[in-house]
């Protein structure tokens, strides 16, 4: 099964693959998933501050939507643009659904932080990346999304504008502000940035 999926991703164009999916080919659907899962999972994971479980849920939601609504995709935009757009909208929808209730237990007495970075400790690059990811997750979605699409996915300003359905100027403005917020939050990591 995996071998045939692999062959599909190698030999079929995106248009052909989509056509096969519309025809109900499970191999084609899996090939589509294999080809694009990294994009979707990465956006979701970086949007939600490294939460793998939530990212996996988002990934499943996105592909379920995608595979049940392939007929809706008219081909007037790049498929990846459409895919990113569904992913972004699903992430934003999930943010609205998520509610956090205060835990009334264990606040009296000792309370240890979950991550403890002393300033005199050497910080592994993976930990820095986690800290950056976490700080980005603390930004409002309108600032978070352009950063994730730009730096996780490598999209251009024009591509980001197309995904978010806004102007390039808006993308630029939000990235500008998002960068400054990050710099303010993570000034202590200045020496770690190349």
């Amino acid at each position: 099964m995996m071998e045939s999926v692999h062959l599909m991703t190698q030999n079929l164009t995106e248009r052909d693959l989509l056509a096969e999916c519309r025809n109900g080919s499970r191999e084609a659907m899996q090939a589509l998933f294999v080809e694009n899962q990294r994009r979707v999972f990465s956006v979701a994971r970086n949007f939600f501050g490294g939460n793998d479980d939530l990212a996996k849920d988002i990934t499943q939601q996105v592909f379920l939507k995608l595979l049940t609504k392939l007929d809706v995709f008219r081909g007037d935009a790049e498929f990846t643009t459409w895919l990113y757009r569904i992913t972004v909208n699903t992430c934003v929808d999930e943010t609205r659904k998520l509610r956090r209730f205060l835990n009334f237990g264990d606040f009296f007495g000792e309370s240890e932080p979950r991550v403890n970075h002393g300033q005199d400790e050497r910080i592994h690059s993976g930990e820095i990346s986690d800290e950056v990811q976490h700080a980005i997750a603390g930004l409002k979605p309108k600032f978070r999304l352009p950063i994730v699409l730009k730096y996780s996915e490598g999209l251009s300003y024009a591509e980001i504008a197309e995904v978010l359905e806004c102007s390039i100027g808006t993308v630029s403005s939000r990235l500008n502000r998002g960068h400054k917020m990050l710099a303010g939050k993570l000034e202590h990591l200045r020496n770690e940035v190349n």
């Binding site: 999972f41 592909f63 379920l64 002393g118 700080a135 730009k150 710099a183």
Partner: protein, 426 residues
């Protein structure tokens, strides 16, 4: 020399999104403009940090679950019947019912005023550390324009238009007869057998009396004619004072929930580690056996005061106190667990710069409540960082300068706090 500033375009410049000629112009400008160079450095730092984001593959088995969902015909794992949606819906229903009961109770008592979010709280200057100031209500019509900051303590004290030196508004008077503050408070049993002294009968609580609940008992105390307090199980309270000028309860241990419809600062609760000053609100106050407390405000504002330090806690926010260590920094209940943990360490366990850095990393726009309270509680170098982060969320209004904030000018701090409230309650 090109004197045009490019502040909004540094992101494009750093990411090579600009045409060559414009890029060249900006490069020349950055060399000669200190302001733009500083801004460029910040944006560049942010871009460098963001570039640390990594891609990752979905865990093994993800496709199998999708395939299974498709085979069973499930539209989405998160349909309307998602448990979290149900929990949210149920929670909302509970809140609506609770609000409805509060309004009904208020109407029943003849008080038609809703529990409105107070305007900026009014805090008279602390007379001394053992006798906290009287709670002064913040009239609904109080506006930012009426704010002036009289006190030397921090956070900056807010006073609205001077409250009238007369009896509280008619809506707060008892229905019949002249305004009389009873010498005792009525209480009723909600569950179990609460005790007043050796008595376990429903009745009255006089000044000096204790009311105690065991694990199965709850009671409701009528606070004169201004509201009520529910005493949770395993709690012990004492009526300290009751008069037309002040109603005072002491919570030694346990939990109470207060709903007060009165001018601010009329109702006060002493705990072993702080004094909770009602500013027209509803809140839950818990005290543990060590005398530490946790305040959770559900409506209006409450001020926690001790030793010259004060925390103004708005609706939706929480503040801890520790006996012997003072009052903590308020934070919204929606803050991340990591922020809460770092803040507790900073407030009570000498977390220092590392904890503060964690708070800044975790902070969202709403957490400017927390960051604003931290301004006077940190060293100057850290205060500069706090200012920068706060500024990125809410620009200081006209008349508020960076220098003024860094030297803790009370009027400027208060003016900026009012601007931030738009983020807190949006």
């Amino acid at each position: 020399m090109n004197t045009k500033h490019y502040k909004e375009k540094f992101s494009e410049y750093i990411n090579h999104e600009l045409p060559k000629e414009e890029r060249q112009e900006m490069a020349e400008h950055i060399l000669v403009c200190e302001e733009c160079r500083a801004e460029h450095d910040q944006v560049k730092l942010g871009a460098g940090l963001a570039s640390m984001l990594r891609q990752a593959d979905a865990p093994p088995g993800t496709w199998n679950e999708i395939e299974t969902a498709m085979a069973t015909g499930a539209k989405s794992r998160f349909s309307f019947f998602d448990l979290r949606v149900l929990a949210f819906g149920f929670g909302s229903l509970v809140i609506v019912i609770g609000l409805g009961m509060m309004v009904y109770f208020a109407l029943l008592r003849g008080d038609t005023a809703p529990i409105a979010k107070s305007g900026p709280p009014v805090i008279a200057p602390a007379q001394n550390t053992t006798n906290p100031p009287v709670v002064v209500p913040s009239p609904p019509e109080t506006t930012a324009a009426n704010i002036n900051v009289p006190s030397d303590t921090f956070p900056a004290k807010v006073t609205p238009k001077q409250p009238p030196a007369v009896e509280p508004p008619n809506k707060l008077q008892p229905k019949s007869g002249p305004a009389v503050t009873p010498a005792t408070w009525n209480f009723e049993t909600i569950a179990g057998a609460p005790k007043v002294g050796d008595s376990s009968e429903d009745g009255k609580l006089a000044v000096g009396d204790f009311l105690e609940t065991d694990g199965a008992s709850r009671a409701r105390i009528e606070v004169a004619d201004i509201g009520n307090v529910e005493i949770e199980p395993n709690s012990r309270v004492r009526l300290v004072n009751t008069s037309s000028k002040q109603h005072r309860l002491s919570l030694e241990v346990g939990t109470l929930q207060a709903q007060i419809l009165a001018p601010p600062r009329l109702f006060i609760v002493d705990t072993p580690s702080a004094v909770a000053v009602d500013l027209g609100c509803a809140y839950t106050l818990e005290v543990d056996k060590a005398g530490n407390s946790k305040l959770h405000v559900t409506s209006g504002y409450v001020a926690l005061e001790r030793g010259g330090r004060e925390s103004i806690v708005p609706a939706g926010a929480v503040c801890f106190t520790r006996r012997g260590k003072g009052i903590g920094t308020p934070f919204f209940e929606s803050a991340t667990p990591a922020l809460e943990a770092a803040l507790l360490k900073f407030d009570f366990d000498r977390g220092g710069s590392a904890s503060l850095a964690k708070v800044l990393t975790e902070a969202r726009a709403e957490d400017t409540l927390t960051l604003w309270h931290l301004l006077p509680r940190v060293q100057k170098s850290e205060r500069e960082r706090l200012f920068d982060v706060l500024n990125s969320y809410v620009a200081p209004p006209e008349g508020v300068t960076r220098e003024g904030v860094l030297r803790l000018d009370k009027k400027m701090l208060e003016a900026w706090r009012i601007e931030m409230e738009n983020l807190w309650f949006s």
